[in-house]
């Protein structure tokens, strides 16, 4: 139920609905999109960025929140830790366990490697479970990997790494099949074909879904399979530093048990970094759709070990985060709502952007509508937003469609007495995804020998803006590739003796740049949401 003063705007929205059902907003031309982005997209606010002063990407620009952590101080004292006395000794260590981590672990084990997974929260507590809309794969007769390739490039502003996009689109159908063979329940039509929908920036219906619990379905199947395959794992044990050897190769990692605060040393021939996103750094103060542990730890560790980053100046703001009610502020309202036909409208009930433009374009248009044109809707808590006209879906596609296709959304709003089958949703952009990250090749290998990476912590495949349904796809395509490549690397590598010399070197570099005092400890591990009273004496982890 919305506060009474919004009723007038809701009535306007209802009045214009019948007309809008027949109204199609034109797609923007490329130049119009670029102009809109430059004026309103948060990535273009120069004061929110700064150039890195140390490390491989010295001189590159990135949000200040990330820059501080990339240039942060190590949590360990290399003189007090002996990396040659490990608690675990394995072939492949997987750091992080969302979709990318789980798939890389399964494949690495299949290839004969002894695998250990370590993760900050529980197995599967990751952004993957929050992915609702679907996974792209060009498998319908009127579609092709080539069209998927062009869509992905256009969404990424033509900056994507072509080789990565090629394997993304070509592996996609077999990834869908792999997941089904493991037991994922895809939505299907009566004729046994996949039930597929369009998304922002896709020119074909290509999204494979599992109601609006797609990522959850994928993740719970993979997690169940990890257990069936008896793959070893440590929970609540984030990595806080990588270990190299005297040949400059990866030799393992130092973990911290969050509950006991003990350090755990893992010797590994190869490491796969699958630590996911960055949302909990709240870039520019945005709320986020991301899970509790999304603090860019993997980027920090890899950077300190000498890995190169790409596209770290671009974040994805999902156009439709909830802006009302307050308890779910910034939480994801899946793009599937627009995919199914819901339009975006301002306070007068008028459309202002074609709802299925790529995400950066739609987000910028919403920001323009609220900030410049002052046609947004203000909430009692001072947020602003625009209407996402969900009731249209049942009018277009038939009564009951919303309940069937969007059970998670219906449930989430029903808790706050909003019936999205009858009432619209109030939305505003929310921090959703890091488009860039660790640079990889098509095998998931980084420039540090033995360090592989996959999923949201990597960059390149999505260019400057990821399309809907390409993130979950990315997880499985590159997770599997990294798993295979890491297992093979682990078989062949000649090991040196482990050392933490790179941490000492890093410390000296920070000292020389005069940054030691200014910079925080990193990785961040968890965001700090605790209200501290006067009597607080403890130290935050």
């Amino acid at each position: 139920m919305y506060p009474g003063y919004l009723e007038e705007s809701i009535h306007l929205l209802e009045d214009t609905r019948v007309r809008r059902l027949l109204e199609t907003m034109p797609r923007l031309a490329e130049e119009e999109k670029l102009a809109l982005l430059k004026l309103y997209h948060p990535d273009y606010i120069e004061s929110s960025m700064r150039r890195l002063q140390s490390g491989v990407n010295k001189g590159d620009s990135t949000p200040v929140e990330l820059a501080d952590l990339l240039e942060g101080n190590s949590r360990i004292d290399p003189d007090k830790i002996d990396p040659s006395r490990p608690d675990h000794n394995v072939d492949v260590l997987v750091i992080g366990c969302g979709g990318a981590g789980a798939s890389s672990a399964l494949i690495a084990q299949e290839e004969g490697a002894r695998v250990l997974i370590t993760t900050k929260l529980r197995l599967g507590d990751a952004n993957t479970v929050g992915a609702q809309a679907g996974t792209q794969a060009a498998d319908r007769p009127n579609d092709s990997p080539t069209i998927h390739y062009l869509d992905t490039l256009g969404g990424g502003r033509f900056d994507n790494v072509p080789e990565l996009v090629e394997v993304l689109v070509k592996d996609a159908p077999s990834v869908i099949k792999w997941l089904e063979q493991l037991g994922v329940n895809w939505d299907k039509d009566a004729d046994a074909s996949m039930h597929e929908l369009s998304g922002g920036g896709t020119s074909r219906r290509r999204l494979h879904s599992a109601r609006d619990y797609t990522g959850l379905e994928e993740m719970r199947v993979l997690r169940d399979e990890l257990r069936n395959k008896n793959i070893d794992y440590l929970e609540f044990a984030p990595a806080i530093e990588l270990i190299l050897d005297d040949r400059g190769q990866i030799a393992g990692a130092i973990l911290m048990n969050l509950e006991t605060e003990e350090l755990v040393i893992v010797r590994a021939r190869a490491v796969i970094m699958t630590t996911g996103g960055i949302g909990r750094l709240h870039i520019q103060g945005f709320p986020t759709t991301n899970h509790y542990g999304a603090t860019a730890d993997g980027l920090v560790l890899a950077y300190r070990a000498g890995a190169e980053m790409v596209f770290i100046d671009t974040m994805q703001y999902h156009p439709t985060g909830a802006s009302y009610p307050l308890p779910i502020l910034g939480q994801l309202v899946t793009e599937k709502v627009r995919t199914l036909g819901a339009q975006l409208a301002n306070i007068s009930g008028e459309q202002f952007v074609m709802p299925l433009e790529p995400r950066d374009v739609v987000a910028s248009a919403i920001i323009r509508e609220c900030r410049e044109r002052q046609l947004g809707i203000n909430t009692p808590t001072g947020e602003s937003g625009v209407w996402l006209d969900s009731p249209m879906i049942d009018m277009i596609r038939g009564e009951g469609t919303i309940a069937k296709e969007l059970p998670a959304m219906v449930r989430q709003f029903r808790r706050h007495n909003i019936d999205i089958t009858r009432e619209p949703i109030l939305v505003y952009p929310t921090l959703h995804y890091q488009n860039g990250g660790i640079k990889i090749n098509t095998s998931g290998a980084t420039n540090v020998p033995g360090l592989f990476a996959a999923g949201e912590c990597t960059g390149g495949v999505h260019g400057r803006n990821r399309l809907i349904g390409n993130s979950t796809l990315d997880l499985f395509v590159f997770g599997r590739r990294a798993g295979r490549a890491a297992a093979q690397y682990a078989r062949e590598v000649k090991r040196g003796s482990p050392t933490l010399e790179h941490i000492r070197r890093w410390r000296r570099e920070l000292q020389q740049a005069g940054l030691t005092r200014e910079r925080p400890l990193s990785p961040r591990i968890l965001p700090d949401y605790v209200r501290r009273t006067r009597g607080y004496t403890g130290q935050a982890i």
Partner: protein, 234 residues
């Protein structure tokens, strides 16, 4: 913002705290000084990490919910259940038949269900847990998959079952068997995989890879776009 709201009394594991109304149980815990390690995951109602049991000062009836989704109410007594030692059967999906007998062999305790319906009353997703457990007992794997689909695997059903059953793990098994063996095969997917393996699209993609950005931009702007709707709704 929150500071201006009315304060309400809640009891966290018995400890009296005053928190602004409108907070979720999770943010109320943080407001009261608790740094979450366990009992907090996606913070958006999808991962099931924050299962919570609560009742009220003058009402002993237990209730169940997700801390990240439920807003606090006056006089709430609450505790989280971040872990429950539930049984999970191990199996090889490739060698497991999609039959009721197999489900029963992996979870023989299914027969002990006496229909008390506690599981259904416990489920924060409001699923019909007892009904899908009886479907499982009858070997109707498809029904279990459908009814249990929105399960977050928070584990509260298992924590409360007086017979020690594990509905969420039984449902997981059934959904996987359904997806692997019973869901109809999509031929267009198989065909496309074969085409890709035959290299059918390699030349096209190579051409795109070698095209100038200007040409790619033109092709992108001119590409035909399939209507989002499967058919005209008019």
């Amino acid at each position: 913002m929150a500071e201006q709201s009315r304060l309400i009394d809640i009891y966290i594991m018995g400890r009296h705290c005053q928190v602004p109304e409108g907070l979720t149980i999770l943010t109320a815990l943080e407001y009261s000084g608790y740094k979450m390690i366990r009992g907090c995951g996606c913070r958006a109602g999808f991962c099931g990490a924050c299962a919570t049991i609560y009742n009220f000062k003058n009402d002993p009836q237990l209730r169940y919910d997700l801390a990240c989704q439920k807003t606090v109410e006056p006089d709430m007594y609450l505790v989280q259940v971040p872990f429950f030692p539930a049984v999970k059967a191990l199996y090889d999906i490739e060698k497991t038949e999609a039959t009721g007998e197999k489900v029963l062999a992996l979870y023989p305790d299914l027969v002990k269900c006496f229909g008390c319906n506690t599981c259904t009353k416990t489920c924060p997703q409001e699923l019909e847990v007892m009904w899908f457990m009886s479907d499982a007992l009858r070997g109707d794997i498809r029904e279990v998959a459908d009814k249990s689909f929105d399960c977050l695997m928070c584990g509260l059903c298992a924590a409360r079952c007086p017979q020690g059953l594990v509905p969420y793990n039984v449902a997981m098994l059934c959904r996987r068997l359904y997806g692997r063996y019973l869901a109809p095969v999509s031929k267009h997917l198989e065909d496309r995989i074969a085409e890709i393996e035959d290299g059918k699209f390699d030349a096209e993609i190579k051409k795109l890879k070698n095209s100038s950005e200007e040409k790619l931009r033109r092709m992108y702007a001119e590409r035909d776009i399939e209507p989002a709707l499967e058919q005209s709704w008019e």
